[in-house]
């Protein structure tokens, strides 16, 4: 258990639903992949105004390419960073480093990467990738080893791996940033291989929410190793708890029940541990509330990342700090809809989090660390 986390909490937002309020409720193949640039740009500018750290641009066959979007959006924005999702197996590592470095040079370092294993084998095959879950992570390990060799200035890069062979690799375009030689690396997942990958290569592991003490049980070793752990979580914060709970009901009514089938179908095709276990949990548990403020009721409709922090502004701020006590230091939020929620977060929730941190008004509720759960590195 980190006694007093020294790094400040960092807040990111997902841009996956820019311009589409209930996008998660539709089957992926039915979604329109033509980006409405004005919607994306508005999303970026609002996020800049709200002090959001970076915006996740997700990867998927049904979406526009995230790094091309980042390059274009970077031209029209000043401060926001782009967290570009990447899967190994879709691009050669040297070509990827060259692309990331190019965006860094175009935007003065406003790019970080979110490395995911890919969550449905069927989709991966459309890209010519026929590996199964654990092998995809093994390949991602090689992929990141090569990428980091470039970023750590170890050119010419020569690498003889199972999945990649590189000889004498040297790129002229460096990673351009005021304070880094390579992008911040996020790794997504919940399986053991994902955790190992994060410990080896990442600055932060993204995972899906559980009760804080469960998260610490599951990811304490990652935190101990010096890699941060963050959660991908939705937010429904309102002036009072009653209003927040009423919003969850309105939300379910608005989506309808068609969406439920979409996500059960998706889950059957997916081999992602994080996604399938969250969906299973949401379907199996008796209550939709994992804690008084952690709600899974929308998961069957909107997918695994719809586990939500629900409550009054004070409660949601308190919840964020409970996660902080469990060692969670970064948050990737989603809202339904995003921009309204982002504004409530910026004007109501975040100031409360910061005020509590400053005044240290909260009673300490340390989670006791069993000796066997200590760090492994």
């Amino acid at each position: 258990m980190p006694d007093s986390p020294t790094s400040p909490l960092r807040f990111h937002w997902s841009m996956s639903s820019a311009g589409a309020r209930w996008r998660g409720a539709e089957p992926r193949a039915a979604q329109n992949g033509i980006p409405n640039f004005a919607d994306y740009l508005e999303f970026c500018r609002e996020a800049e105004a709200c002090g959001i750290d970076s915006l996740l641009t997700a990867y998927g066959f049904h979406r526009p390419d995230p790094i091309v979007m980042a390059s274009a959006l970077g031209m029209m924005t000043k401060r926001i960073k782009f967290m570009v999702a990447v899967r190994s197996g879709l691009i050669s590592p040297a070509a990827f480093v060259q692309q990331v470095n190019s965006v860094s040079a175009l935007t003065n370092g406003r790019i970080c990467i979110n490395v995911v294993g890919g969550h449905t084998p069927k989709e991966q095959r459309g890209y010519g990738d026929f590996l199964e879950h654990d092998e995809r992570y093994a390949r991602t390990d090689e992929f990141l080893t090569i990428c980091r060799a470039f970023w750590e200035g170890r050119s010419p890069v020569t690498y003889q791996g199972t999945y990649f062979q590189i000889e004498g690799g040297a790129l002229n375009t460096p990673f351009v940033s005021e304070d880094r030689t390579g992008p911040e690396i996020f790794v997504g997942g919940a399986s053991k291989v994902a955790k190992d990958l994060a410990v080896r290569h990442a600055d932060c592991l993204w995972t899906l929410p559980r009760r804080p003490e469960e998260l610490f049980e599951q990811f304490g070793s990652v935190i101990e190793s010096g890699t941060e752990v963050g959660i991908l979580v939705s937010m429904i914060a309102r002036p009072t708890r009653e209003e927040a709970v009423a919003s969850t009901r309105e939300m379910l009514e608005a989506i309808g029940t068609q969406a439920k089938k979409t996500h059960r179908d998706f889950s059957m095709r997916s081999d992602s541990v994080a996604f399938t276990s969250t969906l299973a949990m949401a379907e199996e548990t008796q209550s939709d509330w994992l804690t008084p403020w952690l709600w899974t009721g929308a998961v069957p409709y909107l997918g695994a990342p719809a586990v939500a922090l629900v409550g009054s502004y004070d409660e949601v701020a308190e919840a964020i700090l409970e996660f902080k006590d469990a060692g969670i230091t970064q948050f990737l939020f989603m809202g339904w809809p995003d921009l309204e929620e982002m504004h409530r977060f910026a004007s109501e929730v975040r100031p409360r989090v910061e005020a509590r941190e400053r005044r240290n008004l909260r009673k300490a509720r340390p989670i006791v660390l069993e000796p066997s759960m200590g760090g492994t590195r």
Partner: protein
């Protein structure tokens, strides 16, 4: 149809007035230079240039992303995005290009090259030799076409690529096309065949028109276009143009260094066209207006049309007569030469083209049918 003229984009690290070309071998091209490159794009729009070539290679930023960035800052100019197979699988490639098309309304074409250096290909994990790279590029483009045809999930059990039920949500967006125009670059037979089977335009280095004529026939007969990558030095008189050309190679302190660099580059390359151009340079003047004197310092694309505006315009018309329809040009100084071309040469070319059309429409029907194959007698 009027001739189409493209220009090579100014690289980051190059100044508008630069006269060196070997710079793309050095570290100076590592970074984009948005201010100067955007200005160059705007000047190209003014000069009547259709597209700007963004090179691909380990010494430079990624051309797709550079085109996305510059596309956000311009209205009309198109980009010719150079790319190679072996860097990125076709599904990802199409997804990136379709995204780019949606952002800049389809304002780009592709210049597909096979890669000129086996050493550099290995940086990207590509260990194939010359002819195999073309065979792979053939499959690569075949998969791309399947996505652009949009006839449902793509299945492709190939030798180099295996795709199962590939789908993409973002289509190619353009007011006039369903896929980008495809320039296929290269001087070898393999490149020519690839242009015929998968491309829109065979893009090669220049030579004298009478020597090109037979080499481009099969491409034209297959209904594809031919384009030339070359340079221009135009001044108000032939004497001044020749002097500018000779100064380019003799007036540089770095001349010797450029020569050694270019020789080294050529040695490491397995590109047929780079070798051919290097050999052509044994003869300094291929025609009274086609000069090879800069090839050994500035590389294969530096085969140059040299002359007065009238002479340069006539030279391009010579190419038009044998069936060449597009050009990717460059010159020195980089900006000024493009401005001279736009101001002095292009209007003369257009006037000559109008003249040709009037001749064809008014008198010479036989000439207008020259390119139609005649199959009256069965073989």
């Amino acid at each position: 149809m009027n001739l189409k003229f493209h220009w090579r984009l100014l690289h980051g690290g190059e100044t508008m007035g630069a006269t060196r070309a070997a710079g793309n071998l050095s570290h100076s091209t590592a970074l984009p230079d948005l201010e100067n490159q955007t200005e160059f794009c705007r000047q190209a729009e003014v000069c009547g240039i259709t597209g700007l070539l963004t090179n691909v290679g380990a010494p430079q930023p990624d051309p797709i992303l550079l085109a996305a960035a510059l596309g956000m800052r311009t209205e009309k100019i198109e980009f010719i995005v150079a790319y190679r197979s072996g860097l990125i699988p076709p599904t990802t490639f199409v997804q990136q290009l379709n995204t780019l098309s949606a952002l800049i309304n389809g304002r780009f074409s592709l210049n597909i090259v096979a890669g000129h250096s086996p050493l550099e290909q290995r940086y990207y994990g590509d260990f194939l030799e010359h002819d195999e790279r073309y065979a792979r590029t053939e499959e690569f483009l075949a998969v791309c076409h399947r996505f652009w045809e949009g006839a449902g999930p793509v299945n492709f059990p190939g030798r180099y690529y295996r795709i199962e039920n590939g789908q993409l949500g973002t289509p190619f967006v353009s007011p006039s096309r369903t896929y980008p125009e495809l320039f296929i670059g290269g001087g070898s037979e393999a490149a020519k065949e690839l242009a015929i089977s998968q491309g829109s335009v065979w893009m090669r280095l220049a030579d004298a028109p009478e020597r090109l004529e037979s080499s481009i026939q099969p491409v034209l007969a297959a209904g594809k276009e031919v384009g030339l990558r070359m340079c221009v030095i135009c001044r108000s008189t032939r004497e001044e143009a020749v002097r500018a050309a000779l100064q380019l190679v003799s007036g540089l302190d770095l001349g010797k260094n450029d020569k050694a660099l270019e020789r080294d580059f050529m040695r490491k390359s397995d590109s047929v066209s780079i070798r051919q151009a290097y050999e052509l340079a044994d003869t300094e003047w291929l025609t009274p207006w086609l000069w090879t004197g800069a090839v050994r310092t500035h590389g294969g694309p530096a085969i140059t049309v040299v002359g007065s505006p009238e002479e340069v315009a006539s030279a391009f018309i010579e190419y038009k007569k044998i069936g060449v329809t597009q050009f990717i040009l460059a010159g020195w100084p980089k900006l000024e030469e493009m401005q001279i071309f736009g101001r002095e040469v292009l209007p003369r070319i257009r006037a000559k083209e109008r003249e040709m059309e009037n001749t064809v429409n008014g008198h010479d029907y036989e000439h207008s049918n020259r390119r139609e194959p005649f199959h009256a007698v069965p073989a």
